[in-house]
């Protein structure tokens, strides 16, 4: 039998460093499944949802059936996939739209995670299976009108009254707030910050959606209003007191973000690459101009570097070696570079780059939120600054 000559290593424009090769079969399959779902269920509708400013709630149970909600947790109807697989799922979702990745991040990492980690057995049984199935939607209330980067300054209070708790305060910028069946609300109690599960319909608890957003339009962002909301002791998360509670949740969600934004960047890179080869000016494709090639190559470099960072942090998380500062590294670098890639793609598409017919301006606008939420780029910069100098600069 003729032996085939050793194949010369190939370079793939869409996976230049062959990161695919680093993944395990199961991870690749999970990625492909989510990619197909995004292609079939999200891409056909996204322009319309974004333009109208709606999140299609009917997708939630579909995300649940697929297994994406709380996928990295164990038990109670969740799947317990690896951190790398969770990251890959975030990447594929955000390649569709950051709004859907946000939905999954909030549901899994910000609402299910605290119940799973700090909740009572009763709370876990009551909420987690339904949340994993997408039948109950959760939100996470930490930020307040006067308390953003410094959440420890929160004013929302939890006061004891007999055996009950009374909650008062406002939470602002809360993803999923208006469609949530339950809110995990963080409030100041006598002994420190405590978490509470506030079911929709609790007396004194209302929500108001924020309209006129130009970013994350296919995602609901709301205000939570708590006026003398009386909750039984069983509504409090028993196993955590202090800022450690909400911060640990954010750390989980940020980890998903540092993967997710690679997806948004990939979509913009692919769109720009394709466009540059088919759009002709001065009698030739714009890809033949050196300035365009330089843009494409810079995008290629940063996209692949960001993907490698995500992959590396994923493996570290799976090995239990990931510190919060590592997550800051990934979030800061990857969101910043993703935004830069998308903006550069926009210049290649020029006028077409500003319409919803192409995904580029939508991703740019979405990433403006992603740059801010889950710790602004400034705060992550100062977290890293502290990590290497030992000097805290943000207080």
């Amino acid at each position: 039998m003729a032996k085939a000559a050793p194949a010369r290593p190939e370079v793939k424009p869409l996976d230049f460093l062959d990161i695919d090769h680093l993944l395990q079969d199961e991870e690749r399959m999970i990625r492909d499944t989510v990619r197909k779902f995004v292609h079939d269920r999200i891409l056909p509708g996204i322009e319309g949802w974004f333009e109208k400013g709606v999140f299609p709630k009917e997708i939630a149970p579909e995300l649940g059936r697929l297994g994406l909600l709380g996928m990295h947790l164990h038990g109670y109807g969740t799947l317990g996939v690896s951190a790398t697989s969770y990251g890959l799922a975030c990447l594929e979702l955000e390649a569709g739209d950051s709004g859907f990745r946000s939905f999954v991040s909030v549901q899994g990492s910000l609402a299910m995670f605290p119940i799973w980690k700090y909740g009572s057995e009763e709370q876990k049984r009551e909420w987690l299976p339904r949340m994993a199935a997408g039948e109950a939607i959760g939100c996470f209330g930490l930020t307040e009108p006067d308390s953003g980067s410094d959440p420890a300054s929160m004013r929302t209070s939890a006061r004891r009254s007999g055996g009950d708790w009374i909650l008062n305060g406002n939470k602002l910028w809360i993803t999923n707030g208006g469609i949530a069946d339950l809110a995990v609300v963080w409030a100041r109690a006598e002994d420190g910050i405590r978490g509470f599960v506030v079911p929709r319909g609790s007396k004194g608890y209302t929500t108001r959606d924020i309209h006129q957003k130009l970013s994350l339009r296919a995602s609901v962002t709301s205000e939570l209003i708590l006026e003398d909301v009386r909750l039984p002791e069983s509504a409090a998360l028993p196993d955590v007191t202090g800022m450690r509670g909400p911060l640990s949740c954010l750390n989980e969600a940020r980890y998903g973000i540092l993967w997710g934004v690679v997806g948004a960047a990939r979509t913009c890179y692919e769109t720009a690459l394709e466009y540059s080869k088919t759009r002709h000016q001065f009698g030739k494709p714009i890809a033949s101009f050196q300035l365009t090639q330089e843009k494409l190559v810079n995008m290629l470099l940063e996209l692949n570097k960001a993907a490698l960072v995500a992959y590396h942090l994923g493996r570290m998380k799976d090995e239990g070696r990931l510190a919060a500062q590592h997550v800051s590294f990934g979030k800061l670098n990857n969101v910043r570079e993703a935004l830069e890639i998308c903006r550069s793609a926009r210049t290649i598409l020029a006028a077409n780059g500003i319409t919803l017919e192409y995904p580029v301006i939508r991703h740019i606008n979405n990433l403006e939120s992603v740059l801010t939420y889950e710790g602004t780029s400034e705060i992550h910069t100062l977290v890293l600054g502290e990590a290497i100098t030992g000097i805290q600069a943000y207080r």
Binding site: M1, A2, A4, A7, D25, E26, M29, I30, T33, K36, F37, R65, L66, G67, L68, M71, L79, G80, V81, S85, A89
Partner: protein, 272 residues
């Protein structure tokens, strides 16, 4: 309840819950979206990315739908191929098949259709299935010969080009896709069917399915285990010739009866 009544009840439960066993043949093929290369002996180079043959995804889908409609059924995948075929098998298991047999043997490289059919038959026989489900043809080799050969070697009736399948008792009924509609065809089980894309969009391997596939049994067997020795190939591919370039399309100018002309053209190519 008297003891005899209990025995009777048990007996009924047992007979009514007759377990249906479905074997699906699956194959891993070079990713059809990648550029395909030939080796010097006119075989497809199989060193690149591989995927579960899209035609076989319909086979798995059809089997899973039959299983869901049945009281109790088991779907067993049978695949012949190199170590890499494990990926295709895992995909099928992730979609929901119960277990798999992976026939892998260095002595099988470059097997022709007849050898493939003989080997698959040997493995299928060991399972004594009620139903064998195949794609109509593989997407890479495209000979379309293997399923009929298997049916012949097993001595099973074969129902081809099924766009819908129903199993009831010991009968299998299919809608056989034709150019103009479908025929309804029936056979006694055990039988072999080949399915078209008409059976329905293959389901996603859900994450749950992917995780569950980890613990499903994949039995690895070689030629010796099956008691098959490889005979002389019955065929050889002598030459591979590229398809003719497509002719430029026909432009119909509208001189008042363009609609009729277009309809006539469409009818000619059987598009309407």
């Amino acid at each position: 309840m008297t003891p005899s009544a209990i025995i009777k009840l048990r007996f009924i439960a047992f007979t009514e819950k007759a377990r249906l066993k479905i074997v699906v043949t699956v194959k891993q093929i070079p990713d059809p979206n990648a550029t395909l290369k030939l080796t010097s002996d006119n075989r497809l180079a199989r060193d690149g990315e591989v995927v579960l043959d899209p035609g076989d995804e319909y086979g798995v889908e059809a089997a899973l739908r039959i299983k869901e409609a049945a009281d109790e059924a088991e779907v067993v995948l049978v695949s012949m191929g190199p170590a890499k075929a494990a990926d295709a098998i895992r995909k099928g298991l992730s979609m929901g098949a119960d277990r798999a047999i992976h026939i892998s043997d260095d002595g099988l490289a470059g097997a022709d259709a007849l050898t493939t059919a003989q080997v698959l038959t040997a493995a299928i026989k060991g399972e004594s299935p009620d139903l064998v489900v195949c794609g109509c043809e593989s997407t890479d080799g495209s000979t379309g010969m293997v399923p009929p050969m298997i049916a012949e070697l097993l001595g099973f009736p074969q129902l081809t080009f099924a766009k819908q399948v129903e199993v009831s008792g010991s009968k299998v009924t299919i809608q056989r896709q034709t150019d103009v509609g479908y025929d309804v065809v029936e056979a006694d089980t055990p039988a072999l069917i080949t399915v078209t894309a008409g059976v329905g969009e293959p389901r996603y391997a859900s994450l749950k399915g992917i995780m569950a596939a980890r613990s499903k049994e994949v039995k690895k067997v070689g030629l010796g285990d099956l008691g098959v020795t490889r005979g002389k190939p019955a065929e050889e591919v002598l030459e591979v010739v590229e398809a003719e370039k497509r002719q430029a399309g026909e432009v119909i100018e509208d001189d008042g009866n363009a609609v009729e002309k277009i309809v006539a053209l469409l009818a000619k190519v059987k598009a309407v």
